[in-house]
């Protein structure tokens, strides 16, 4: 039976739409995957030496044990929002002669192979290997690693329990809060106890039974819960939550673009992939730290322009590059309705402008690294506002790949095509070249002034530029409608 399931799974992977993508996108995704893997592996391998460097007196395993609890909490929260049990896949099995026990085991077993479990493994495997090379006792390291695997899998199953039942969620959140309170008011050394507990897993290989028991317990309770609920109206149902509608009458002040603005805001808040992009964009504000904390970059300051364009324009890129594919599900309606295309594009440009403004304000603390940092970010923001918005909208007219809004956000490359890969070049390279050249030939101030002035000129010319772009969208209308209708891309 399981052999059949595995065959099905294999077909699901090889026949999925992401496998049939354009070559350029495929290569890009493979490259990205390798890069992420490399990042995780080097982080795991480097962790030992980094800990050794920063805390020369403490055994790195002790330090890892100390921070393990934070990692567990982070992973639980992360999984809670991102990972769902793959129950929908078994719908076709329900009326086939397959025992429900097996179906349940299949779902739970499959979730064990989830991408989320591998992220952590790619950090801990190299860490364990480094430990072995550093002469740590083989048996201890192996059992410590197995304990970690058990903890990861337990987190996997705990997540499903709290995802299914609010009671479990409140209990877990309650425990976390109490522990935090105890820690905060110094009632008991909470983190110290966790350190000791996790270090025990390393010190005494036999302690491995504890995480194993937790794993079996969480698996068992998931099994019992799910086994009795494999019905269309119980577990195997997508949750439809009650909708709260907001009036959003404040958008009225934006005049003719108000209806579109309201639609765009709903688009962003009510769909996973777009919502995810907003969160990612906000998080990316910290991306600059990599550049500013790294001594290597201070000399090659054109990288700071990259950083500035990136931070202030992250939403511009994430959201803007897929305009108008976000509306692909109902594009034919939009095109037959009484819609001025111009207003539609203006609304998108307005939304992106607001995001640039917000990100610029958030990036003000970078002034800590000197006034240059602030000046670079502000002129990059102006450049984004004036030049990059029209550029990204222009490239949008080349989009003809459908995006299904209901699909998940993680690693979703729907809507990707060669245009998305090319659009990055003008967005980043042109300002970097301008800056690097002028900074080298004249001075930093002049370089920044030129970037800002270019942005302001672009902003002043926005009306005629948008007219031209609107014309382009009109011409591409039929191609877009046809492309957006194609389900598999």
């Amino acid at each position: 039976m399981f052999k059949n399931f595995i065959k099905l799974e294999w077909k699901a992977i090889t026949r999925s739409s992401s496998f049939g993508k354009q070559l350029a996108v495929k290569i890009f995704m493979i490259f990205l995957g390798i890069w992420m893997l490399f990042g995780a592996v080097s982080m795991g391998a480097g962790m030992f030496f980094a800990l050794k460097k920063f805390f020369p007196d403490v055994d790195p395993v002790q330090k890892v044990s100390e921070y393990l609890i934070y990692w567990i909490l982070f992973e639980l929260v992360f999984r809670y929002f991102m990972q769902k049990l793959p129950v929908m896949d078994v719908k076709p099995m329900l009326i086939l002669p397959v025992k429900k026990d097996i179906v349940t085991k299949y779902i739970l077993g499959k979730s064990g192979l989830s991408f989320f479990n591998f992220i952590s493994l790619f950090i801990f495997i190299p860490f364990a290997v480094v430990l072995l090379f550093q002469g740590y006792a083989v048996v201890n390291v192996i059992f410590w690693f197995l304990s970690i695997v058990c903890i990861i899998l337990s987190l996997n199953y705990i997540n499903f329990i709290i995802n299914k039942s609010d009671k479990a969620l409140f209990i877990i959140a309650g425990i976390a809060l109490v522990l935090y309170g105890v820690h905060y008011f110094n009632l008991a050394p909470v983190t110290e106890n966790f350190r000791i507990a996790f270090y025990t897993l390393y010190k005494y290989p036999a302690a491995f039974v504890a995480p194993l028991a937790v794993l079996l317990g969480t698996y068992g309770s998931n099994f019992n819960y799910l086994r009795n609920r494999i019905y269309l109206d119980a577990s195997i149902k997508e949750k439809i939550s009650e909708v709260e509608t907001k009036d959003m009458s404040w958008t009225k002040r934006f005049g003719a673009i108000a209806p579109f603005l309201r639609l765009d805001l709903k688009l962003i808040w009510r769909n996973k992939r777009t919502k995810m992009q907003v969160f990612m964009s906000l998080l990316m504000i910290f991306y600059g730290l990599i550049f500013y904390l790294n001594d290597q970059f201070s000399s090659m300051s054109y990288m700071m322009v990259f950083c500035g364009i990136f931070i202030t324009g992250i939403f511009l890129m994430n959201f803007g590059q897929f305009i108008p594919a976000w509306d692909s599900e109902y594009y034919s309606m939009m095109m037959s309705q009484n819609i001025p295309l111009r207003k539609y594009l203006e609304s998108k440009a307005g939304l992106i402008s607001v995001s640039i403004l917000v990100m610029t304000i958030l990036s003000v603390p970078y002034v800590y690294f000197g006034w240059q940092a602030l000046a670079i970010n502000v002129s990059c923001a102006l450049y984004n506002l004036g030049v990059n918005i029209p550029v990204v909208l222009y490239f949008g007219s080349k989009n003809k790949k459908r995006i299904d809004l209901a699909k998940s956000a993680m690693g979703n490359t729907q809507g990707m095509s060669a245009a998305q890969l090319i659009v990055g070049l003008p967005l980043f390279c042109i300002p970097m070249i301008i800056y690097a050249g002028l900074n080298y030939l004249v001075s930093l101030e002049v370089a920044l002034a030129v970037l800002s002035v270019l942005g302001i000129i672009g902003f002043l010319l926005r009306k005629p530029l948008l007219d031209k772009i609107t014309e382009l969208y009109r011409k591409k209308k039929y191609v877009m409608i046809a492309g957006f209708k194609e389900q598999n891309n």
Binding site: T245, S332, M333
Partner: protein
């Protein structure tokens, strides 16, 4: 109201639509029937300028649809679910369409009040997104949305499919009422011969992209159509 001249659509060498001449009078209720692949949806898509004709043109109230957008304010349509915005509630969707057509909330609500029977309590106030409604209920929302803003041309592709019997009967009445209004031209396509003969004054049969019958509806029409499709 609508004039079609030498309209053809060719996909990869295959002619899917070929209409030498078709004129639909203002106020007419016009029915389009034909088997799968006869070109019904192609014709409607051409009327709405969603696809480009290979040759010929569509003139809607004096406006050539592929060169001007002036036809949009007085034309509305519901072709399929791709006309709905899945992440809106039905109310939000109606208000959005209303705004595009210069109707405020009160106007839209007044219109919706007329269709309470048709909605059967399953559309308004459900606190659900359109994407979470059943196919039939999605269709109800889409059809009524096409009535917003007093359009003069209403195009409905297969409006009866997926609807329950009660709703089908109510929809027939609604279309008949619209047809009474001499300002509104209604275009309906259907696979159900009985429904079209009941609601349409004129019926055109398409077969492999060409008009094979053009009849003014009478008591014999249903029989005539049935014998045509049986043969």
């Amino acid at each position: 109201m609508i004039k079609v001249e030498n309209l053809t659509k060719i996909y990869g060498g295959k002619t899917v639509l070929n209409l030498a001449d078709l004129e639909i009078q203002k106020g007419q209720s016009f029915g389009l029937v034909g088997n799968n692949g006869a070109g019904k949806t192609t014709l409607f898509s051409l009327l709405l300028d969603l696809i480009q004709p290979t040759t010929g043109s569509v003139i809607n109230n004096g406006v050539e649809v592929s060169s001007s957008e002036e036809w949009k304010p007085f034309t509305s349509a519901f072709i399929d679910e791709s006309f709905l915005i899945g992440y809106l509630t039905p109310e939000e969707y109606f208000y959005f369409i209303g705004e595009l057509r210069g109707q405020n909330k009160a106007d839209v609500e007044a219109l919706l009040a007329n269709y309470e029977d048709f909605f059967h309590g399953e559309i308004l106030g459900q606190k659900k997104y359109l994407r979470d409604l059943s196919k039939g209920n999605q269709k109800k929302a889409g059809i009524v949305a096409s009535f917003i803003g007093s359009p003069e041309v209403i195009i409905l592709d297969e409006p009866f499919a997926n609807l329950d019997p009660t709703t089908q009967i109510r929809l027939k009445q609604i279309i008949k009422d619209l047809a009474e209004n001499k300002n509104i031209t209604v275009l309906v396509s259907s696979h159900d011969l009985m429904h079209v003969t009941e609601v349409c004054e004129r019926i055109v049969v398409l077969n492999k992209g060409e008009i094979v019958k053009d009849i003014q509806t009478s008591t014999e029409t249903l029989q005539e159509l049935e014998s045509f499709f049986a043969g």
